[in-house]
């Protein structure tokens, strides 16, 4: 039975932001302007004070909706992921839900005690010892002293800073500091837990420990709202997610499709920012004069207008065309294409010289086509990094980074179990059978 623990209805939050009409450079050309400017500002501030409004710097005021008409529900024991780009409204949403700030309109109903973890180590005082800070931080997060005393040993063991408990935390390394802070927070026991980006602390071992703790919290049938930019963490901790974009819900549903929607959107936005044939935003570092230069990249497939990424069907093979502008003939050039998935993991590397020889390039516009065989990417979006090397002095003459290359879509090849995690490689064909006659191969490990 699913009971909604958090109900959000038409939630909006508006901020007022001030601008300076002189463009913010503060340069006023003459004394008269300076005087009228100052007088006008002072007059407006005084009016604001009398009306009891907040003071804003600048003389033009604009409304900014950090959240706009949000509606969603979270059921008891559910772990909900919240993703979105910077400034999408994630933190504002968490602040409203944890009662730090008030919404402008709309309504939230919460059933149960809420604890929020928007930052680790909130309220830690640098002069106090680790032990003292555990009590301080615990009290700030809403634990009673009796609670803390009961769990003190657990907290300390989790944080791995036993030896330094009586040292002021200002002498701690930043790793020790966040470990202690996370340890306190991890031992909160509210009915609803709101967590913002706190797993990015400590070394890999400690991060794994934090992840473990988070999933055990989730298993204890407590309701958790979890914001992160780490898609891996979202995938492993949550089943359902919402995607925020400019203060509204852009997608809602199973975490896996919502994450793909988010990553696709990021890629699409990048693609939109790119004018036809203009690869400059994707070049990094110093410009090198060379005999050739990359001028366009193209994947023949569906979705060929400039707004969309080329799309290929799951399980089909594809080609990549790299258009080069060659100024001087090159006997044997090398071209290297590295594919990354949207999580930033390298998927594969294609190197032209792997076939034994380089590419012979005559002056003019040349198109290098690579037909990729036997590589089946899983649904999602992919970036490319492309290097062009004339193989003269061992230095490449052009390189393109993070170029949004293509998306792979499941077009009816797999018709059931659509929301399963795809992994990173798609297996196009696998034969399954049951052999009644055979026994286990000799030497096989028996479990």
């Amino acid at each position: 039975m699913a009971t909604p623990v958090i109900t959000v209805e038409n939630l909006s939050k508006r901020y007022l932001i001030g601008h300076r009409s002189d463009g913010g450079n503060g340069r006023v050309t003459n004394l008269r302007d300076a005087v009228t400017h100052t007088a006008r500002n002072l007059g407006r501030k005084t009016l604001d004070v009398m009306r009891g409004r907040e003071m804003l710097q600048g003389d033009k005021i604009e409304e900014f909706w950090a959240l706009r008409d949000l509606n969603f529900q979270v059921n008891e024991g559910e772990v909900l992921g919240i993703i979105g780009r910077n400034g999408a409204g994630k933190s504002t949403l968490l602040k409203v839900l944890s009662r730090i700030t008030e919404p402008t309109s709309g309504r939230v109903t919460l059933h149960g005690r809420v604890a929020s973890l928007l930052e680790v180590g909130t309220g830690f005082h640098p002069e106090l010892s680790g032990r003292e800070n555990v009590y301080l931080n615990g009290a700030i997060l809403g634990m009673t002293r009796a609670d803390i005393r009961k769990r003190f040993d657990e907290i300390v063991a989790f944080s791995e800073v036993e030896r330094f408990l009586d040292t002021p935390v200002k002498r701690y390394s930043s790793g020790m500091y966040v470990r202690l802070a996370f340890a306190v927070a991890a031992h909160l026991e509210p009915e609803i837990l709101i967590v913002d980006e706190v797993l990015a602390v400590g070394d890999v071992a400690f991060q794994n420990k934090c992840m473990g703790k988070m999933s055990s919290v989730a298993r204890e049938s407590r309701t958790v709202l979890f914001v992160s930019h780490n898609m891996g963490a979202i995938k492993s901790l949550t089943k359902r997610s919402i995607l925020l974009d400019q203060g509204s819900i852009a997608a809602e549903g199973g975490s896996e499709p919502v994450i793909s929607a988010y990553l696709m959107k990021t890629l699409d936005d990048k693609k939109k920012a790119l004018k036809a044939k203009d690869l400059e935003p994707f070049r990094r570092g110093e410009k090198r004069e060379g005999p050739a230069k990359i001028v366009a990249i193209h994947v023949p497939g569906r979705g060929q207008d400039a707004e969309m990424l080329p799309e290929i069907a799951l399980g089909s093979e594809f080609s990549i065309e790299v258009c080069l502008e060659v100024t001087h003939a090159v006997a044997a050039a090398d071209l290297c294409i590295i594919l990354f998935n949207a999580d930033g993991e390298r998927v594969t590397t294609l190197v032209a010289s792997d076939r034994g020889t380089g590419l012979s390039l005559r002056p003019g516009e040349r198109i290098v086509t690579v037909d990729v065989h036997g590589l089946y990417l899983t649904p999602g979006s992919y970036y490319a990094e492309i290097w062009l090397d004339p193989m003269i002095d061992g230095r490449s003459c052009d390189a393109i980074f993070e170029y949004p290359l293509l998306t792979v879509a499941n077009k009816g090849l797999i018709t059931h179990g659509l929301e399963r995690p795809w992994g990173s490689v798609f297996c196009k064909a696998a034969d399954w059978r049951v052999d009644d006659s055979k026994a286990a191969a000799p030497g096989a490990l028996t479990l």
């Binding site: 602040k95 009662r99 730090i100 919404p103 309109s105 309504r107 149960g112 009290a139 700030i140």
Partner: protein
Amino acid sequence: MSDVIIIESGRQERNYWGDLWRYRELFYVLAWRDLAVRYKQTIIGAAWALIRPLLTMMVFTVIFSRIAKLPSDGVTPYPLLVFVGTLAWALFSTGLMDASNSLIGNSNLISKVYFPRLIVPISAVVVAFADFLISFGILIGMMVWYRFIPSWQVLFFPFFVLVGIAATIGPSLYITALNVKYRDFRIIVPFVVQLGLYISPVGFSSSVVPEKWRLLYSLNPIVGVIDGFRWSLLGGHSKLYIPGLTASLVMTALLLWFGIRRFRSTEKRFADLI
């Protein structure tokens, strides 16, 4: 499902005072933090807590008694008169100054965690109260030194301490709420406190104020508190001026009410403004 919390714009929370009770330990913890931090990395540590009020008392005695030649009432030793005045004044002034800066000083808490915001300024007053207790210990020492025995009026002393705390909390809440929005008050408050020291009867007895101005003078709530302290601790030599005391009490109650109202109505926007 234990409790239901509804978040809406402009909604007064029904369970605000309940929450305040649930977070009661935070009053103590925040006050403890401020006290614990204050004398960290000093050579003589907590001894400062004794030395500070003693020094203030000595300076006041010299200035008001020796230099300004103001009279004591009757037989009460002048240092005792001054010290009792300082006791009340220090509770008010440190409470007011610390509390009015408390929200800004704890802005990291305000913008990251929820708890009833009232706790922050009030725990600053709790710190001032802890200082007050230490000074009170010194006063007892001084009474022993001067062989001064308070009479039955001392039973009223706790009442005047409560009035003193209320008189501190009221304006503190008002100013701290304003201070979040308009930082001008951060600069104004020290001046007001400095001025208040001279217009409140700290270094002199309020009996030096001409009779016809006395009621008006008593509108300053601290006048009632200091007079009450002197009357209850130093005995009948300083007479209690009842109309003045009533005026001070009414002012205290009004300021407290205004302070809490102002604080509660702006509290929810603190995180956006701070």
